[in-house]
C-alpha cells in the first residue's frame, strides 16, 4: 500500500483515556452525567427531595443523638451547621468514589460498542456527584443561616475547598474504576475504607475534641478530607475555629495533604491510562 505513495488518513490507534478531542470528552461526560442524574429520581413522586433526604436524614439522626442523648455538640458553636457541612462534603466524596468503583462495568454497554475517551466514564460520575452537591449545598445554606451564621467575606474561599475535595476524589475514582474490572473485591474493601474515612474525619466531632494535639495533627496531615473539613468550618461557619494550619502548626506542613492529593491523582490517571486501551476486552 505504501508503494503507491498515496496519502493516508488519520491513524486509528485504539481506545485511550483521553483520546484527542477534549471538548467532545467534556460534552460526552456532561451528557452522560445529566442523564444519569435525571434517572436517579425520574418517575418518583418526591423526585429530587429523596435525593436531598439522604444527607438530611443522616444529619437529623446524628443531630438528635449527639445533642440530646450524648451531649456532644454542646461546646461547639453552630454544631448543626458544622455537622451538616461535614456530612454533605463527605457524601460528595463517598458518592464520587463509591460509584466510580463499578462505573466502568455499569457503562459496559457503551465501552464495548463505541469508541470514546475512556476517561469520560469516571468523569461523568464526578459530574453527577457535583450536581448533587450543588443541590445539597442549598439545604446547607438554609441551615447555616438558620443557626445564626452571618455571611462572611471568607465564603469566597468555599469554591476552592469544593474543588479541593473534587480533585481529592478524582484520583481514587480513576484508580478504582480501572482496577475494579480485574479485582472485583475492591467494592466491599472500598465500602469499609469509606466508613473508616467517615470516622477519621471531623464530621461528628470537631478537631479540637481529639485529646492530643499530635493526634489532631496526624489526622489533618494524613487525611486530606479532614484538612478540607477543618478549613471549611473555619471559613464557612466559625471564624474563631482553628484553621488547618493552626492545627498542624505551620502552613508549609499542609504540603503533605496536598501531596497526597496530587500523588493519588497522578497515580489514578497513570493506572487508568494504562488500563484504558484494553478495558473493553477485559470486561
Amino acid at each position: 500500500m505504501s508503494a503507491t505513495a498515496r496519502p493516508l488518513g488519520r491513524r486509528i490507534r485504539g481506545p485511550s483515556a483521553l483520546g484527542g478531542d477534549l471538548r467532545r470528552m467534556l460534552q460526552l461526560a456532561l451528557t452522560l452525567a445529566v442523564i444519569e442524574w435525571k434517572l436517579r429520581f425520574f418517575g418518583s413522586v418526591g423526585g429530587y427531595l429523596w435525593q436531598l433526604m439522604r444527607p438530611l436524614m443522616l444529619f437529623g439522626v446524628l443531630y438528635i443523638v449527639f445533642t440530646q442523648f450524648i451531649r456532644f455538640g454542646e461546646g461547639v458553636r453552630y454544631y448543626p451547621a458544622v455537622l451538616l457541612v461535614g456530612i454533605v462534603l463527605y457524601t460528595f466524596f463517598a458518592d464520587v468514589t463509591g460509584r466510580a468503583v463499578t462505573a466502568v462495568e455499569d457503562r459496559e454497554n457503551l465501552i464495548r460498542k463505541v469508541a470514546f475517551p475512556r476517561l469520560v466514564v469516571p468523569l461523568s460520575v464526578l459530574f453527577t456527584a457535583v450536581f448533587n452537591l450543588a443541590f445539597n449545598l442549598v439545604a446547607v445554606l438554609v441551615l447555616v443561616f438558620a443557626t445564626g451564621v452571618k455571611p462572611q467575606a471568607s465564603w469566597v474561599a468555599l469554591p476552592l475547598i469544593l474543588v479541593g475535595i473534587a480533585v481529592f476524589a478524582a484520583g481514587p475514582a480513576m484508580l478504582l474504576s480501572a482496577l475494579y474490572v480485574r479485582f472485583r473485591d475492591l467494592k466491599p474493601i472500598w465500602e469499609v475504607l469509606l466508613q473508616v474515612l467517615f470516622y477519621g474525619s471531623p464530621i461528628l466531632y470537631v478537631i479540637e475534641m481529639i485529646p492530643t494535639s499530635s493526634l489532631q495533627k496526624a489526622i489533618v496531615l494524613l487525611n486530606p478530607l479532614a484538612t478540607m473539613l477543618v478549613q471549611a468550618r473555619a471559613t464557612l461557619i466559625d471564624q474563631d475555629a482553628p484553621n488547618a494550619w493552626d492545627v498542624v502548626g505551620g502552613g508549609h506542613l499542609l504540603a503533605i495533604p496536598a501531596l497526597i492529593v496530587v500523588v493519588l491523582l497522578v497515580l489514578g490517571f497513570w493506572v487508568f491510562n494504562r488500563e484504558a486501551p484494553r478495558i473493553a476486552e477485559e470486561l
Binding site: G9, R11, I12, L110, I111
Partner: protein
C-alpha cells in the same frame, strides 16, 4: 507523485489476539490465597495479518462465519479495540453502528434517548437536540414521544434507533449486522437509506451474514475465516466463496436418527449422495448430474413397498420430492432379509447451500410407514453465483430492442 485523495480506509497487516484466562483470578483474595499460581492465558488469535483498502464512496462488505473475526475487525476500525500489530488509517468522519441504540435507557422518554444516542454516535449535544424533530419524523413516532422507552414495542425501538443513525452525518460508516433486525417494511426502509447513502458517495464497511445484502449493496467484499483474509473482490465471488467455506468444512452428515419412526418391516441401512461417476461426495456441483442413493433391507414379507424421498434446503423448504410410486414402479414382493437399492438421478439445479435428503419406506395403499429417517443424508451444493432463489433452473434471457437481440443463458 500521485495527487489522488487518501483511501477512505486502509488496513495494513493488522493482527489482534485476545488473552483468554484459563482460570480467571478475579479477586484479590484468590490472588492472596494462591500467590504462586500464575494465571495462565490462552491466546486467541482473532485477526491475523489482515490487509485491505477501501476507496472513498465504496460499500464494502465484510463476511465470514461466526468467530471468523469480522466483528473484531470492525471494532479495531472503530477504535474500540487496540490492535497488536499493523496499522489502520481512516480518512473522514467516522461513525460506528455496532448495535442500534447504543446508550438507550428504558426509563427515559424519546428525547433523552435521542440525545444520548446521538452524542454517543458523534453528534454534539446541540446538534442532537436540533435534529430531534427530524429523527421523530423519520421514525414516525411523534405520538409516542412522551412514552418511556420500555413501553415501546421492539419495532418502535428499532425505528427510533435507526432514525438517529440516519441523522448522523459521517463520511465513513461502520455497520455491524444492523439489518438483521426489524420487520420487512423496516428492512425496506433500511435498504432505501443505504441506497441513498450509496448515491451520496458515503463509504460504508458493513459486516453481515446476509449474502443477498452483500450482492445488493456492496461494490466489493472481504471474506474472513479464522482471522485471515480468504478473498477480497466482487461480491458474487466472495459470496460463493463464503458458501463453499461455510459448508465444506462441516461434518459430512447431520442425520437425525432420533426422529426415526416406522413399524420395522423395512430398515433404511444407509443413504448418500453421489456424482455422475458414482463417487460418494459431500459436495455436489450445481449444473451437473447427481444421485441420491439409499439401501434398504426388508425384515418381513411385504408387497409393493413404496420408497420416497424429499430434498430440503437449510431452512427446511422442500425443494423436490419423489417416490417409486410417482415414477410408476410396481415394486413387487420382498421377503425377510432381502435388500434393495434405491436411487434418484437428476440434473442438479439447486441453489448453492446445504441440502438434506429424508427418505422413507411405506406400505402400498394405506401408506403405513415401515421406516423413515429425516435428514439421513446431506450434501452441499456449490456454484459460482448466489441468486437468492431456492433453485436455479437453467434458462435463457433475451433482450430485444428491435435492431439487435441480446441473449444469454444462466446459470453459467
Amino acid at each position: 507523485m500521485s495527487q489522488r485523495a487518501a483511501p477512505a480506509a486502509v488496513v495494513d497487516g493488522v493482527s489482534k489476539s485476545f488473552r483468554l484466562p484459563q482460570e480467571k483470578v478475579h479477586t484479590l483474595k484468590e490472588r492472596a490465597m494462591h500467590p504462586f499460581r500464575r494465571s495462565r492465558y490462552e491466546p486467541l488469535e482473532a485477526l491475523r495479518d489482515v490487509s485491505f483498502a477501501v476507496e472513498r464512496g465504496e460499500f464494502f462488505g465484510i463476511v465470514g462465519r461466526n468467530g471468523s473475526g469480522k466483528s473484531t475487525l470492525l471494532k479495531c476500525l472503530a477504535g474500540i479495540y487496540r490492535t497488536d500489530a499493523g496499522e489502520i488509517y481512516l480518512d473522514g468522519r467516522l461513525s460506528t453502528f455496532i448495535e442500534l441504540g447504543v446508550g438507550f435507557n428504558p426509563d427515559l422518554a424519546a428525547r433523552d434517548n435521542v440525545l444520548i444516542n446521538g452524542v454517543m454516535l458523534g453528534l454534539s449535544p446541540q446538534q442532537a437536540r436540533e435534529r430531534y424533530e427530524a429523527v421523530m419524523d423519520f421514525a414516525e413516532l411523534h405520538q409516542f414521544e412522551h412514552l418511556k422507552l420500555k413501553n415501546y414495542s421492539s419495532g418502535m425501538h428499532v425505528r427510533l434507533a435507526f432514525s438517529v443513525m440516519v441523522q448522523v452525518e459521517a463520511d465513513i460508516l461502520l455497520v455491524d449486522e444492523v439489518l438483521a433486525v426489524g420487520d420487512a417494511a423496516f428492512q425496506q426502509k433500511c435498504f432505501e437509506v443505504f441506497s441513498r447513502l450509496r448515491e451520496e458517495g458515503r463509504t460504508m464497511l458493513f459486516v453481515t451474514h446476509d449474502m443477498e445484502a452483500v450482492r445488493r449493496f456492496c461494490h466489493r467484499a472481504l471474506l474472513l475465516d479464522r482471522g485471515e483474509v480468504v478473498s477480497v473482490g466482487k461480491p458474487s465471488e466472495v459470496a460463493s466463496a463464503y458458501i463453499d467455506l461455510n459448508f465444506s468444512s462441516e461434518g459430512a452428515a447431520t442425520t437425525r436418527p432420533e426422529e426415526r419412526l416406522g413399524d420395522g418391516s423395512a430398515e433404511l441401512l444407509e443413504a448418500w449422495w453421489e456424482d455422475e461417476s458414482g463417487e460418494r461426495l459431500p459436495q455436489l456441483r450445481q449444473g451437473e448430474s447427481c444421485s441420491f442413493c439409499a439401501r434398504i433391507r426388508f425384515h418381513r414379507e411385504v408387497s409393493h413397498p413404496i420408497v420416497s424421498v424429499v430434498v430440503e434446503n437449510e431452512s427446511r423448504h422442500p425443494l423436490m420430492a419423489t417416490s417409486t410410486e410417482w415414477a410408476g414402479i410396481e415394486s413387487g414382493r420382498f421377503g425377510p432379509g432381502e435388500e434393495a437399492s434405491f436411487s434418484v438421478r437428476f440434473e442438479n439445479a439447486f441453489a448453492p447451500g446445504r441440502i438434506y435428503a429424508s427418505p422413507w419406506v411405506s406400505h402400498a395403499g394405506a401408506h403405513g410407514i415401515m421406516d423413515r429417517w429425516p435428514q439421513m443424508a446431506t450434501a452441499v451444493v456449490t456454484g459460482p453465483h448466489i441468486s437468492g432463489a431456492l433453485v436455479d433452473l437453467p434458462h435463457e434471457v433475451r433482450l430485444d430492442s428491435g435492431e439487435r437481440t441480446l441473449a444469454g443463458t444462466a446459470p453459467r
